[in-house]
Symmetry: C2
Subunit: 257 residues, 2 copies
DNA sequence: CGTGCACTTGACAAAAATCAAATTTTGTGG
DNA sequence: CCACAAAATTTGATTTTTGTCAAGTGCACG
């Protein structure tokens, strides 16, 4: 909930720099844009709002604009009713990528959303005149690419525990990266969305939450808020403990750091 | 095998343009770089070769260079022995992305490989002076991002048939995109790599190939070369046919087009 | 012409998907 | 604030499918 304060300075792109070495705050998200860039972008952007559940665009539509989230959470999904969520998007993220001029995925607001809308034509004009801005976009894309690769890794896991534990850890890290309090992890999406994101059935997601709670790994205030009670237990689940064999195929579960 | 002819003009980046509308050759890969850009990049690049199976770099190493494949196939994997392949890379692809100055993934030659090696420092210098080049890199990254998203989708599938059929289709499309003959699909990687890429066990990959052959969907000249005998059968498998229910969760399998 | 590695195959167990029904929450109109 | 309807979630019983473990098999290379 806690609204971001100074975000209306203009569009905001958050990511880790792919090339800068030995950062002060390792792994933290940085504002990639300078104030100058943000206010310049603000001149071509308009602020739009979406109610929870509203469709922002559908795959196949003409891609007229790129969006940059100010607040709220968006889900990007395949459009066809495949039941797969491609990614969740948070403040500081860009979405609305197109292929040959049309949106590839559909996007829907998971919570109430405020975003900047950047018309593709103006944006391209601005990009072609500003190498520094382009560089920042490149950084953000690298960031998203790594993120997508991790998602593939998550989805490839076979154990429900591991998937959900990793998912919760991801939510926590995002919350931390945004500088929010992490004593409690907020879960902005419903069980069904979680299932479609991590690649398991709704029923299995539910069962897994129940199991994690019963095992004392997490505690839930309500469906949308959990607390991590047994950090090492969670880490062990994520590390693929619940020690399984040691066969040919090496260890097994492990998220890429 | 068939060596690319004019690729030694300099580095080559192949992708579909995310914004250009109504292309002549829909969905085809284009050379993103101009000849000018290619020869400029050639001045900072050196050509390197790797034998089949050679490690190109390991995750965690200082990321000193970016690579651009001239010929051959590379696999990018998590480094930790997790048994997951992040992606396969083909001619016209870039690899060697870093996070905070170190390689994120490890890379190994699946076949003999020839590639351009671009030192990060020179590359960044060149990028910051050339907005058009940066734009092309942005296009390539968008392309890779979509590709990674499709990979997540593939890996999320539950049916072995569907995974392997989709994988074969992907190989075929890549072959077509590179302008090669598609009467036969070449499989540059071994069964184990396929398993690690699509997220199933080696045994299951093997069984699935056997099953597809027995059902007459494909025919194999040898382990590394198959022919698609029943296109509609293959398409039906990919579409998630083998018609399953119609429940709450909508259809089911579908690749994002 | 053997050795090894890559692949195939068989038998069984494990884990989640499904199907289906019971419950809890949430949102709405009085 | 309450009654309801609708939506979201939990749970149970059963089925499906692939992972695992463990033997083969066959081809490539020295």
């Amino acid at each position: 909930m806690a609204q971001r304060r100074s975000d209306h300075t203009g569009p905001s792109i958050l990511a880790v720099d792919p090339w800068a070495r030995s950062n002060p705050s390792k792994g933290r998200l940085h504002q990639l844009l300078t104030n100058e860039e943000r206010s310049q972008l603000a001149t071509i952007a308009s602020v739009v709002r979406f109610k929870k559940g509203a469709e922002i665009f559908a795959s196949g539509e003409q891609a007229r604009a790129l969006f940059n989230i100010i607040s709220g959470v968006v889900k990007s999904y395949s459009g066809d009713e495949s039941g797969h969520i491609v990614t969740f998007l948070f403040p500081g993220d860009l979405f609305g990528l197109s292929e040959e001029g049309v949106y590839i995925n559909s996007a829907k607001a998971v919570t109430p959303v405020t975003a900047y809308q950047l018309p593709v034509s103006s944006l391209r004009r601005r990009l072609s005149n500003d190498a520094a801005l382009e560089y920042h976009v490149i950084c953000k894309l690298c960031h998203s690419l790594r993120y997508a690769q991790r998602h593939a890794f998550l989805v490839a896991q076979r154990h429900a525990d591991l998937k959900i534990a990793t998912f919760l850890q991801m939510l926590e890290q995002l919350q931390a990266a945004r500088g929010e309090d992490t004593s409690e992890v907020r879960i902005p999406m419903d069980r069904s969305d979680i299932g479609e994101y991590v690649g398991m059935s709704l029923a299995a997601v539910s069962r897994t939450f129940t199991s994690l709670i019963q095992r004392g790994v997490i505690k839930s205030r309500d469906r949308r808020h959990i607390q991590i009670r047994d950090r090492s237990g969670l880490d062990k689940i994520i590390a693929g403990s619940t020690v399984r064999r040691s066969g040919r195929r090496a260890s097994k579960k492990r998220d890429c750091t």
